[in-house]
Symmetry: C2
Subunit: 128 residues, 2 copies
DNA sequence: CGGAATCCGTAAGGATACTG
DNA sequence: CAGTATCCTTACGGATTCCG
């Protein structure tokens, strides 16, 4: 994978595992939001209007557990909780942005490929 | 996300969608394998020894549908099928490698963060 | 406000058996 | 060899309710 490094299948698996983690339904969205500015729980919920409270909580906990975001509780009344990227979380923004650029730059090709595939595909396919 | 670009929530969603696609359990693994050399179905299966035949087929079909890999059938006996990255698929190697480097470079921090979190976390948590 | 707990439907994914 | 078809179990994720 690195120029000059030989390919190590194990590394592929680690990469795939982490991709599966941050590639879940909401993690990237949250990291990108927090990359712009720190947010409270309710701000995140408004920004991602379709996320359920439960999934936002789960997403934030997992990101916190992986050391990507930091959670600060202000025991005011009513309470307020503050989320921010850690240095580790900020270091992820570069790679995420690279992927973001690639997607934006190639999404038309992907959509076109799908339409071609679906048009030429024989019969019905129930999955994919 | 781009320096000089303002943040567009919609782009985040597109990125998240594609990440969810290629962030599934096997896509990255397959793309990285094919990035090194074209492979037959059985070669891929041996390289990813724990993947089921069913999931390998599904993964390959989806990657083909998205225009990332090309499938070539040789109607010999027994038949042989050949998989290779398309130019679009090859263009994804850069971003994937960036992410790969990030994971390899930071996996110790991630593991450490998890252990810290799990150690300090009060009581039992059934999920995450 | 910021969750945690519960319930529930759907989809992901493995194992196995069969086929051209 | 390279799949397809089927079954079955688990995980994901939404909706709702309750709590400090």
């Amino acid at each position: 994978m690195l120029p000059g490094r030989t390919h190590v299948p194990h590394d592929c698996r680690v990469v795939a595992d982490v991709l599966t983690r941050i590639g879940d339904k909401w993690s990237v969205f949250v990291v990108m939001l927090l990359g712009e500015k720190d947010c409270r729980f309710s701000e995140l919920q408004r920004a991602a209007s379709s996320i359920s409270k439960r999934m936002l909580t789960l997403t934030l906990r997992r990101l916190e557990r992986d050391g990507l975001i930091e959670r600060t509780v202000f025991s005011t009344l009513p309470p307020s909780v503050h989320y921010a990227l850690t240095p580790l979380g900020r270091s992820l923004r570069g790679p995420i942005d690279m992927l973001g650029h690639w997607v934006v730059d190639h999404q038309k090709e992907i959509v076109a490929a799908r339409e071609r595939f679906d048009a030429h595909s024989p019969g019905r396919r129930h999955d994919l």
